[in-house]
Amino acid sequence: MTIGTDHAPLFADVLFWMLAVGSVLAGWRVFRADSMVRAAYWLLASFAGTAGILLLLHARFLGLILLLMMAGEMTIMAAFMVMFMMNPAGLNPMNMVHQHRTAIIAGVGAFLGLAAVGVFGEFPARPLLDASQVTADLGVELLGDSMMVFETAGVALLATMIGSIALAAHRGRFGPADEGSEPPALVPEAETVRPGDSRDEEQS
């Protein structure tokens, strides 16, 4: 099932155009959707289009990993939105936009600038010749010459995990963050909830 540019050019071209147009359209829909769950999944669709193009470019591993990662991430985003607004589940229309004009100008400007670089820029023409070893090469590179990059990314991810848990947890760095498997009790009605508030009284 290796579909690539060298197999059937017409087929690959048609597929590419479908994926490219689909990806951009889905990307546009992300910010026009009136519900965040829809927005999250339009973004996933946009990523899926990109992933398809990566597959066409023989970056198979990257394309599949992109899809795999985004499936999880976008579902978490969607779940977040449901969590913050069960009205119910963000199915009611919303206005999520502000400073519209500035944003459009900036977006169009970025597009024009980058597209100009793409069209008029000079890039060396040294295309990929042998697509059979792409994934293996990437593996060797990751655990060979670029081990440092790989390791740095790994450590950064670990730091992120720790940092985000510390940030998101109920009590911050110095206190119990609802530890253990016992579910925390319900917090009684309080006007403001700050770290440390209302926890003590319910434990007594």
Partner: protein
């Protein structure tokens, strides 16, 4: 399918991302804008790898790093959203501005 077209598509994705990041009120939607920009960046990187790097694996490495950045951004973003929400009860930017004073 040529390098120019691929780069234009990537630029379009990036531009949409810029628009989204600037126009949205909700933190999570702003994060989606950032991800959209990274989406364009990944596409551009892989296109360049395919057409002008002779398949050197370092080009793919760039895309992997971009994905790691995306994961970090999402995780930290969600954590910040929860934290701000916890402290200020706001999940959109304008509420935070209003509470600044």
């Amino acid at each position: 399918m040529s390098l120019e077209i691929l780069l234009v598509v990537a630029a379009a994705l990036f531009g949409i991302g810029v628009y989204g990041a600037l126009s949205q009120q909700s933190f999570v939607m702003i994060m989606m804008g950032l991800e959209m920009m990274l989406n364009g960046a990944i596409l551009a990187g892989v296109s360049l790898w395919y057409f002008s790097a002779a398949g050197s694996p370092k080009g793919q490495l760039l895309a992997i790093v971009a994905m790691a950045v995306m994961a970090v951004e999402a995780a930290i973003g969600f954590a910040l959203v929860i934290n701000i929400y916890r402290v200020r009860k706001a999940d959109i930017t304008e509420k935070v501005k209003a509470l600044r004073g």
